[in-house]
Amino acid sequence: MLRNFIKEARQEIEMTQESLAEKVGVTRQTIGLIEKQKFNPTITLCLHISRALNKTLNELFIWEERKNEK
């Protein structure tokens, strides 16, 4: 599964969910769901988020194997 560190990166620069949402053009709820790993964003949105948080994709997103995944 895709895991992200958006919440940590956002809190690091004291940015609210609202302002990140506004910067990348989505709703606050979408940012909330992405942070809770309940919605997988497209690569375009990932790039917008990484740019807004001044991080690279590698710093924000990792692929984590599930226990039952090969």
């Binding site: 053009g25 989505v26 709703t27 979408t30």
Partner: protein, 142 residues
């Protein structure tokens, strides 16, 4: 917000549920009116056109946008040919059995078998043809 991909995806999923309810609902209405109320095709032509039209659009768009015939399974060309043959023949046999139950006349049974076989095979070949055109277009655009 207008381009929020989560909202777009969720709305699409909701619309898909609505489409399926309508599609199966119309199909159920057609079956009810044909077999229970014993209405003819002409009596139900408005609903039938709507239902077949929606089905045809889904069929053509699926082929034209590269959804494989065997989705969600991945199969080889040989297996695809075998699938077309098996499904077409099975449909034709099923159709012949149904006609045999309703009306045992041998001419009608053969007619139902042949008609279903031709229609089913044609549908598969049309789908395959459109899908090949899509593949060709994708290869050319590389």
């Amino acid at each position: 917000m207008r381009n929020d991909e989560r909202l777009i995806q969720t709305l699409q999923a909701i619309k898909t549920i609505g489409y399926h309810i309508l599609w199966f609902g119309l199909f159920a209405i057609l079956l009810f009116r044909w077999f229970y109320l014993e209405q003819s095709l002409m009596d139900t032509i408005d609903i039938f056109i709507l239902w077949i039209g929606a089905s045809m659009i889904i069929f053509i768009l699926s082929a034209a946008r590269g959804i494989p015939m065997s989705y969600p399974m991945s199969i080889t060309k040989k297996e695809r040919k075998l699938m077309i043959l098996t499904v077409s023949l099975s449909s034709a046999v099923l159709s012949a059995i149904l006609v045999a139950i309703v009306n045992g006349e041998i001419r009608r049974i053969i007619l139902a078998f042949g008609f279903t076989l031709i229609i089913t095979t044609s549908i598969f070949l049309i789908y395959d043809g459109i899908h090949r055109l899509w593949e060709k277009k994708i290869d050319e655009s590389k």
